[in-house]
Amino acid sequence: MKKLVKIEVDKNLYFLNQINNFLDPTYIYLPTSNKEFKENDYIYKNMLIEENISSISGSIKSIKNSILQIKNDYKENSVSNKIKRNIKNKEDLLNLLEEFHLLSLKDKIENKDITHLIVSAIDEECYSLKEFMILANFYSDIASTLNTLLKTFNIKEGIIATKNTSEASIKNIKSILGTYPQIKLSLVPNQYLISREVYLCSYLNMPLDSTLILTMQDVLDITNALKGKYTLDTIITISGNNLGKSLIINVRIGTLLKEVINKFIEIKENDYDIYVNGLLQGYKVSNFNVIITKDIHTIVINKKIEVFQDECINCGACIKICPLNINVKKCFIEKRYSKKCIGCGLCNYICPANLPLKEVVKDGAYEEKNN
């Protein structure tokens, strides 16, 4: 297995260990292919619209490109009752996940014979603090849910893995470890990609096949489901060298990024680049008309810099750094993609000639996401 690397980050970026809330957006945007929706239809909070849950209540203002624009009436009229759930075994948990439309999580658990459980508070992207902030702020709920999961899967010990640099979360979790002796805290080095299953299991000496790795967001979703609630919010980190200060904001899913930026963010210079989901694995967008979904965790707003692309100098650093040993240089020259590519972006990062290697090697990922 390849040695992981530590990515150098901008040390001038300072993050406050607190979450700002933006839970009253004027509009939210939800995709739908259902043509029965009409303008002025009323949408309740917690209402299921295909695979998405409405995070506010209000009427449909417009429908464009199969996206509903819902105007918030600030009444929070909800369709569900908050009834606490009890789970005793794996089947109960799977039913709960299905009920709360946590289907990807259900798939992850359903097909696995689980003997070990790791909850990861490791953010993969350098400028993302989502997982870290969930642990730092909801540590009590996380530990309680983890305890429930351990009983459900009949596992003796659960591990919370966090970076050894995450002081705040280490301090918080240590304060509750006495209450849950079956939960252990594991500190992992601050290395890029360490949160990936294969590396984390290897570092913690756990079997890959039977270890379930959940993210903090997964556990928070289960916590909410156990309380009878849908997860309607998501935590995003907004940072970059073109901002007055970097912020961590809890926003309603479906909110337009533009609205968040207008309310919270002070932008220094008018010429800037916007990256969604980080500089390494993310993609560049041209404006703030980005709908915040559950998958979005990071927005980086950097001063515009002119990147000069040189010709390939044949240094081989892209091959040396690729965690999957892909011959990146060959793929780039022959303009073909590799099925193995995980889109980690290390080749782009290391390339001294600034060539867009990831965009070629990872099957058209750049264009797809931009569309």
Binding site: V5, K6, D310, I313, N314, C315, A317, I350, P352
Partner: protein, 284 residues
């Protein structure tokens, strides 16, 4: 890990070459002046050669691209200036380098070869039409020296104008191996192969200067691993390193110890080309 650009890689490499140039000024400038063998202005001959190279490179930049750029060509030009024999004539050097730089730049897109070695070898060849082919400085022409191990390590040996300090070359290597971009296996493969073979001859003739050749160490550290002209896979780097070491030994034994490494690097870079062509044909 910090990201580097082509520009910063070139600058870092040139910084590592500066101590060697300064040592060149001391050995092939100051020491000769102190013995009244050269006039004062020639103390800085190594620097003049480097400046001429850089001016030629930037002039071409200005003519072709209408702007100066710091790229690998700058490093190549600095390296060429460092591996010239002491008796190189300024005019021959300037004219030949200008022509050969232009021609190699044109040829480069069609066939890959180690530009530094080819340029250096052609300039040395042209110079030898007008002056005697020798790497001796005026001091070394007058006296015979028996170099000790320390002499050779510090750079008092016979060699190019700014590349004789094995100490500074090795110091640069110990720093360069920390760079993610440096092909550190190649110098090791070259030197281990050459030293292994040269040690056998040393057992017979006890010629330490053949064994500890500053040119081989300098070229293996700075010229052979130049990214553009060396393989990008570690296995191929080791393989071509061994090949360079072997060819260097044969040429050094049969012909000339000083230019053997440049010839070997050039030949192996050409061989790499043939290998690529062969693969392309197989695909078709």
């Amino acid at each position: 890990m910090k990201k580097k650009t082509t520009r910063s890689l070139v600058i870092t490499n040139i910084i590592f070459l500066v101590p060697l140039i300064i040592y060149g000024v001391f050995k092939n400038g100051y020491l000769l002046y102190a013995r009244n063998l050269i006039p004062f202005y020639l103390i800085f001959k190594p620097i003049y050669l480097t400046i001429i190279s850089v001016i030629i490179k930037f002039t071409f930049d200005l003519i072709i691209n209408h702007r100066f750029s710091i790229n690998y060509n700058l490093l190549y030009m600095v390296l060429v200036s460092m591996i010239m024999p002491y008796n190189i004539n300024f005019i021959i050097y300037t004219l030949t380098l200008t022509v050969i730089y232009f021609l190699t730049t044109l040829l480069e897109s069609k066939i890959k070869f180690n530009k530094v070695c080819l340029m250096a070898l052609i300039i040395i060849l042209v110079n030898s039409f007008f002056y005697k082919f020798t790497y001796l400085s005026p001091l070394e022409t007058k006296f015979n020296f028996a170099f000790s191990f320390l002499d050779l390590l510090m750079g008092r040996s016979i060699g190019s104008i700014s590349s004789t300090s094995i100490f500074f070359s090795l110091l640069a290597y110990t720093l360069l191996i920390n760079s993610y971009y440096y092909k550190k296996d190649m110098p090791l493969a070259i030197n281990l192969t050459f030293l292994g073979l040269a040690f056998i001859t040393y057992l017979f003739n006890h010629d330490l200067s053949f064994l500890l050749n500053s040119e081989i160490i300098f070229a293996s550290i700075f010229i052979a691993p130049l990214p553009k002209y060396s393989p990008y896979k570690v296995k191929d780097q080791v393989l071509s390193g061994v090949l360079i070491g072997l060819i260097t030994f044969i040429i050094a034994l049969l012909f000339n110890n000083t230019i053997s490494i440049y010839l070997a690097i050039f030949l192996v870079s050409l061989l790499g080309n043939l290998k690529k062509d062969g693969k392309k044909k197989q695909k078709i």
